[in-house]
Symmetry: C2
Subunit: 506 residues, 2 copies
């Protein structure tokens, strides 16, 4: 392993903790200080005028034990303008690690298809994120309060909420429910159908890396995809990024170099030492990864405001021969980074402690990565453009223990959710974008006739769930049409099912 | 509701808590005193010479949270004499609420088919029973220690154990695993296949009342079946039992009557007052229910040593006109009860605080009934031979709270396990005995081609899982043959499955 002066574990932990991109958590020190001071997330307000009711449901804090009998208010959003009752379908967004209003605003696919399907839309917030805090402001105060932040509890929340909606909403009793989600929300949608097939008739799991777990896929693949995105977006783009790490090492070796870097990158906090230079490299690595995820074909504001095909724009700043000086190379890098952080020109300086929207709950996801959601990633510097770094579970576990007092269970997700052995389930669509690094851990081939994969070659992270756009590639248009066709099939199947027999033998 | 002087809730709680028959828990006072003094169960030694290894596996106390990171030793038994490795199947008994050696000794079906199937046998003990105590002798000390006694945790234990066996036992990696169980163990087998279909290729759920939950089946049906068993086993048998409750009320109204009853029933502890007479009635009610469950066609010692077709023997003592005096009637009842409690003639007196083998963990099951396993039962005194009694959830809940400090969740089992909406699952056999009152809550019709029901008209509680006997009715022989045929089909299906693809897109 090269780069012995880096802190590989923090790095790896970071790479692990980003499902849906919360690279913020990389910064261990920052994270530790957040642990006891976490604030509720801000609400993101979207462009498209959408209208929903905000409601709250009393959920058990612990579905799997009876000692802790407290409840909390789970937030959920309901839009029933187009709902054809009785019996019209319900599209149910299985909220992931963030403020549910943000997912609601970024899941145009549901809004655009509600009328045709006569569907009610429900967006359910995941416990411990947004406003759905089991212990209010104390929810993140220690491992005792964090103990109920698990995927199984979140799925149980969804199940109980749906059962309640169906039994209390007039006209909903016979409504077939379809689960949808993107990224971790897509994993939840798939797992929800697997574990509660009596509650949802099918699931659309978009960009859902349900195989990004130990032993299921090679840990290198994620960063290979990131690298390929840059390689094909401009001359020498990946090569120059690969060279940039050494250039940063060289330049940051001197005081004047550190100062130059701080100025060149317009950093809000100037670099002071070698460790700060390491942080700069981590922040840049996250930046390139995030760009790969949001390499959309049109202007968008998902993690940050960005131009269309942002990696092409980034690569324009890096399309030079590799014979340039370190300073010339890093000037290109800084210009490239500013495409991501200052496309609108409104940033007076760049803050290396954040890389994306604050609507994602970085701390909560770090806890989940440190418990069940163990997602190995690594780099070799050859097939990818990053500094080589192995996956070191033990070191990762030690760091988790230091942060939260808990240790990850590497095998658990596979045991509970089946890993690659999921063929006995049904009615799940796994959609993946060819540009999306998370496709590395996704289901990218048909498993059965009703566990199907849809590839969107020109798509980044869950492009299919976003609002349609004139610049959408044909592959995502086709994917959406196919997804709606499956929805209709599932709804039809549900309608054909005879009502539950009440026959009993005596 | 008649019989206002009874304690209906305790009664109902009792009726609820007996899955696989632990009516012992009826006696609330006795139960309360047990709460802090519970001893590990005794091991039952069976007649048939069977040979197994006793092993222990370190299980997480909490699979669904990360704060409690302790482990305990789960006991499991392994018999691999006939196992054809590599790849021979594993028959896995999903242990229920009792000492696993007792289930091992009473599940001859597995032993008799091991050779033909080339199968390894594994019997896994359920946490909190037998020797598998998460907190040793403190396991039952309070609700904090009891918090991990849930069906979900037990299923997770089975999953983790099997994954471990398959990865550590040479030759087991490709072995298809079939889950088997009777009664609550049968419910676990079915639910295990539903929740972990990647771990078991199919399940035999014998006498498994997975629908004996609120809103799924009429609460009267259980006791209707008990009554029918007695009605068809002798002249006036059910009628005389139905009359006995009032006779006990009449006779127990006087001191001399109480004394007469105590002597007539050879009670170890003489009746002193009205409450003791109520206990006598409860104990008799449990006795008739237990007899219905173990009305086997041959001599057997499951709950108690009994003659063949014990209800017929019991009914011989009750085959008289209903015009007899209370004393004559109760003499018949006492003779009938002694068939159950003193068939071997070795009991010097009858103990109304127990009704069955001590290999079942009554206290643990009561806790489970007071949390997730809420199984409504009721009587009307018309369609059944018991005193009328409604199902009163609130009162039951209050009593559970008084005992354990927890409240039952009436809807939870339905939400988590699907209730009647299980059609999307596969490869489960539900077998039921026509004589078995638990068939009231069982799956007694085919749901799909691979969720099938096998009825055994002359069978009592999970007769199919017992050793074969010359006196077995043809229906149970046929059932067993069919079950093995399904096993072979499942094993064949598993063999045909291509090995998990490791293909990933980049």
């Amino acid at each position: 392993m090269i780069a012995g002066d880096r802190t590989p574990v923090s790095d790896r932990a970071a790479a692990t903790c980003i499902l849906a991109l919360c690279f913020v958590c990389l910064h261990v020190t920052a994270l530790k200080s957040q642990l006891f001071t976490r604030q509720a997330e801000l609400t993101y307000s979207a462009e498209p005028p959408i209208s929903y009711k905000t409601l709250y449901f009393d959920q058990k804090i612990d579905h799997f034990g009876f000692l802790e009998d407290g409840t909390f208010k789970q937030r959920y959003l309901v839009a029933d303008k187009h709902w054809k009752k009785p019996g019209g379908p319900i599209l149910f967004y299985t909220g992931n690690e963030g403020d549910i209003t943000w997912f609601c605003n970024n899941t145009g696919f549901m809004w655009e298809n509600a009328e045709e399907l006569g569907a009610m839309l429900v967006f359910a917030e995941h416990r411990y994120y947004g406003e759905s805090l089991p212990f209010g402001q104390d929810s993140y105060s220690d491992s005792r309060h964090l103990n109920y932040l698990t995927t199984e509890q979140a799925l149980a929340d969804f199940a109980v909420l749906i059962q309640n909606l169906k039994s209390t909403l007039p006209g909903a009793q016979q409504s077939p429910v379809i689960a949808l989600g993107g990224s971790y929300g897509g994993m939840l949608a798939a797992w929800f159908r697997m574990k509660y097939p009596h509650i949802v008739v099918g699931a659309l799991a978009s960009s859902a890396p349900i195989w990004q777990f130990p032993g299921m896929v090679p840990c290198e693949d994620f960063n290979k995809i990131v690298t390929q995105d840059f390689a094909k977006s401009g001359y020498n783009c990946d090569t120059n990024i690969r060279k940039s790490w050494k250039a940063i090492n060289n330049v940051s070796a001197s005081e004047s170099g550190l100062q130059w870097l701080s100025e060149e990158f317009s950093l809000c906090t100037p670099l002071k030492n070698k460790n700060d230079a390491i942080s700069l490299k981590n922040w840049l690595e996250e930046t390139w990864v995030n760009l790969a995820m949001v390499d959309y074909p049109y202007e968008a504001n998902f993690l940050e405001p960005l131009p269309r095909w942002p990696i092409q724009v980034v690569c324009k700043h890096l399309s030079f021969d590799s014979s340039v000086s370190d300073y010339q190379l890093l000037h290109g890098i800084s210009q490239a980074a500013k495409v991501y952080y200052n496309y609108t020109g409104s940033s007076s300086c760049l803050n290396t402690s954040r890389t994306a929207t604050s609507s994602l709950g970085a701390l909560g996801w770090t806890y989940q990565a440190c418990t069940e959601m163990v997602m190995p990633m690594c780099t070799d510097g050859v097939q990818d453009m990053f500094e080589p770094e192995e996956w070191n579970f033990q070191a990762f576990s030690d760091e988790c223990h230091a942060w939260f007092g808990v240790r990850p269970r590497a095998d658990w997700a596979g045991t509970v959710f089946g890993g690659k052995e999921i063929a006995s389930h049904s009615n799940i669509i796994f959609s993946n974008g060819g540009l999306d690094p998370w496709a590395a851990g996704g289901v990218t081939y048909n498993i059965t006739d009703s566990l199907v994969s849809i590839m969107i070659p020109d798509g980044a992270h869950h492009l299919d769930l976003r609002y349609s756009n004139d610049l959408d590639p044909p592959s995502v248009r086709a994917a959406r049409l196919l997804e709606v066709k499956y929805f209709k099939d599932w709804i039809k199947q549900a309608g054909k099912k005879p009502p539950a027999l009440q026959k009993n033998v005596a």
